[in-house]
């Protein structure tokens, strides 16, 4: 162990180096001046964003694309509070990030000093843990703990608040090799008895469905998931966060379940006799009406977070542990397929009868068509999304095959997430083409990050599905509020091509379906930050759709748009 005398700020940067951090996203200010002074000479790459929210989302996108911990930095007060939405986004989707914030000097804390905000108090409910560093000697331990907490168990954001004078005081730097926390011991190995019970239930079932979530991706368990599905011959559906955990093109794949899931996934869930839920939390967007969810099924629930088990639905066989480890153990007890032949045939029929579809048009660009063309042009791309219709179409009409290739704010549903997250994803995976599939509403919420992309030469492609509306809200107004489009029309407000050009990015536009392929190819060739403005059908809806609060086999059926008749019915 080497002991060096250094300042608090130097200790923070040295700790980042020890944790293998190569890149940080941030925005300087008064209370982080000492830290930025050290970063100036450091080999850690600092990406200067144009709004702190962008830093948090970029760190998040980086973390999701790479599996490493993302790091963001902001100053005290408004800098720190601007991180809040990004931290909450990461918290809801279990993304490991460490946020470093400046704070006023210790002597001023509590005095309502200039740019003082109680960021630890503010972020208490949206962080896995947070620290206000009151003694510089504790910095190495706190940094070590923060990275450990953020990245283990169920990952999540950790915030460290650094008073300015803590950054300038000297300490003896000794980086701990191990973390000792009596209150934090995540359980990774599942209970063997429970795993045996699960195996028995699986082998007895005739209508099994695997329901995979983001936890499969986080624990790198996609391979084990595929092995399980193929071994027991069970169809696999995934939550939005589970996109990419199982290949969409796999014959056993059902795509996404829930509100905008496929009909066949929802029908399968509702008629299943066994749900094998892996790394998922039964979110209301996935389950619909909980009391009517999978009424005939036993439920096996595998999750690393014990608090998720039994929170939303009744569980028959709970298994607490890391998805990968539990699946590996489970596979040992399974030597044959379930008796699922008849079931798979029925599922196959649903897939044939109710495919995801839309009506192509020669005259106006359908947003789904844009997504399909992006897929045709670049099947290996990382797709980042904003939130709303663009997000659902990006999920439905791109065919994902690998984990960490679909990056989206699922839990919090943060508009403005996608673009900064795509910058983080591209910096983490420079070998990949990265698209941000956006809406005209969402993109404007963090479009200032064009400056970040251009000045750091980060060639992401923003594909705006521009319908001139806050599309998803408009869709709900159409279906549930008698087409009264209260404040959802954005038409004509921005020229996105000029906006891109003003930042030094490439701006492209497509107004007819025949131009779509061309602009995508042009953007790919340009290999620079690019915004493509796809002028789309203004009133296209995301279908299928289950209304909020209904069972997931009760789909909205819009029979006649002009009469605006809304029918909700259960089928199959």
């Amino acid at each position: 162990m080497n002991m060096d005398i250094m300042t608090g700020a130097e200790a923070v940067v040295e700790s980042l180096r020890r944790e293998g951090v190569e890149i940080v996203f941030g925005y300087p200010g008064g209370a982080v001046l000492p830290l930025y002074d050290v970063l100036y000479d450091s080999d850690i790459r600092h990406i200067l964003v144009r709004h702190e929210q962008g830093a948090a989302h970029a760190a998040d996108g980086y973390a999701r694309a790479t599996g490493k911990v993302g790091v963001c930095i902001a100053t005290s007060g408004p800098g720190a509070t601007n991180l809040v939405t990004g931290i909450a986004t990461a918290y809801m989707d279990s993304v490991p990030i460490v946020a470093l914030t400046g704070q006023v000097p210790r002597t001023l804390i509590g005095n309502d000093a200039f740019q003082e905000a109680d960021i630890c108090g503010i972020t208490m409910p949206i962080t896995k843990h947070n620290y206000l560093v009151k003694d510089e000697q504790e910095l190495p331990r706190i940094m070590k703990e923060a990275f450990y907490i953020a990245s283990t168990g169920r990952p999540g954001p950790v915030l460290i608040d650094l008073p300015k004078d803590v950054q300038t005081e000297e300490l003896e730097f000794c980086y701990p090799e191990e973390v000792v926390m009596r209150g934090y011991k995540p359980r990774v190995k599942g209970n063997e008895q429970q795993i045996k019970r699960a195996a028995l239930a699986i082998l007895e079932s005739e209508r099994p469905v695997i329901y995979a979530g983001g936890g499969v991706i986080i624990s790198n368990a996609s391979e084990e998931l595929r092995m399980l599905a193929e071994k027991i011959m069970a169809p696999v559906t995934a939550s939005l966060m589970g996109t990419g955990a199982f290949p969409d093109e796999h014959p056993l794949s059902l795509g996404m379940l829930g509100m905008h899931g496929t009909r066949y996934a929802n029908y399968a869930i509702q008629q299943s006799d066994l749900i094998i839920a892996i790394g998922t939390r039964f979110d209301d967007r996935a389950t619909g009406k909980v009391d009517a969810f999978a009424p005939e099924a036993k439920i096996i629930h595998i999750d690393v977070d014990p608090a998720e088990i039994g929170k939303n639905v009744r569980v028959d066989i709970p298994i607490v542990g890391d998805c990968k480890q539990v699946l590996q153990s489970l596979l040992k007890y399974i030597d044959r397929a379930c008796n699922s032949e008849v079931w798979l045939k029925r599922v196959e029929e649903w897939k044939r009868e109710y495919p995801l579809t839309y009506t192509y048009s020669e005259s106006v660009i359908k947003p789904q068509y844009v997504v399909e063309e992006i897929y045709r042009a670049c099947k290996d791309a990382i797709i980042v999304t904003e939130v709303g219709q663009n997000q659902m179409w990006a999920r439905q009409f791109f065919r994902y095959k690998d984990p960490r290739t679909f990056i989206s704010s699922g839990g919090l549903g943060t508009m403005g997430y996608g673009f900064p997250a795509s910058i983080g994803a591209k910096l983490g995976r420079p070998d990949k083409v990265v698209f941000d599939i956006a809406g005209d509403g969402s993109f404007l919420m963090n479009s200032q990050e064009l400056a970040t992309a251009v000045s750091n030469d980060v060639p992401v492609i923003v594909a705006i599905l521009n319908n001139g509306y806050l599309g998803m809200v408009r869709q709900w107004q159409e279906l549930f509020f008698c087409r009264r489009y209260s404040h959802t029309c954005l038409k004509g407000s921005v020229d996105f091509v000029k906006l891109a050009e003003s930042y030094g990015a490439l701006g492209l536009r497509a107004e007819r379906p025949s131009e779509v392929r061309g602009v995508i190819e042009e953007a790919l060739k340009a290999n620079m930050p690019t915004v493509i403005d796809f002028i789309c059908d203004p009133e296209e809806n995301v279908m299928p759709m289950v209304p909020a609060g209904a069972a997931i086999n009760e789909f909205v059926e819009v029979r006649n748009k002009s009469e605006n008749k809304l029918l909700v019915g259960a089928v199959a």
Binding site: H129, L132, G183
Partner: protein, 165 residues
């Protein structure tokens, strides 16, 4: 239903706020909460009385366990544990009423800890029912002020809530 939890936590600033914030955010109802240091100065013990059904209490325990500063949680059963809280009552008392009040204090094995010309302060320790009963009796004399602690509780016998490494 009411449940009593004994929670060992790190004795650090902000821990109470984390616990209280968790209850507020998730809509759990706290009936009472008492905190004090343990024989290990690094560890505090909270006694929390929660109201809810079995499902709620299960979530309360699981969510509390997720807090990094929470070390251990035990549920104490009513029959297997002893519980106490303490109350101070300031009661109007003149030379006429003082003797009868003192009789009540005796019967309850309470204590008079301050005597003024027109008032008394009574200290009583016991379970909730006992304290409530005393309060009812004192009401007719005129209660001027009440101050009650949250409940603390401990398992009977050898079984103990402690932290082993």
């Amino acid at each position: 239903m009411r449940y009593t939890l004994a929670v060992l936590v790190e004795n650090k600033p902000g821990v109470l706020a984390r616990v209280a914030g968790l209850f507020a955010r998730r809509g759990y109802n706290i009936d009472s909460l008492a905190v004090g240091i343990t024989d290990n100065p690094e560890i505090s013990r909270m006694t929390i009385v929660v109201r809810g059904d079995e499902k709620v209490i299960e979530q309360v325990i699981k969510q509390l366990n997720k807090l990094v500063d929470v070390i251990k949680i035990s549920m104490l059963s009513e029959s297997e544990s002893v519980e106490r809280s303490l109350a101070l009552f300031k009661v109007s008392a003149d030379s006429k009423t003082r003797p009868t009040i003192m009789q009540i204090v005796d019967i309850f094995r309470a204590k008079i800890i301050d005597v003024g010309s027109k008032s008394l302060i009574i200290e009583i320790t016991g379970d909730e029912d006992k304290i409530n009963a005393m309060e009812r009796l004192l009401r007719s004399y005129g209660i001027l002020e009440v101050c009650r602690t949250g409940k603390i509780a401990m398992n009977r016998g050898l079984k103990s809530v402690s932290y082993e490494k």
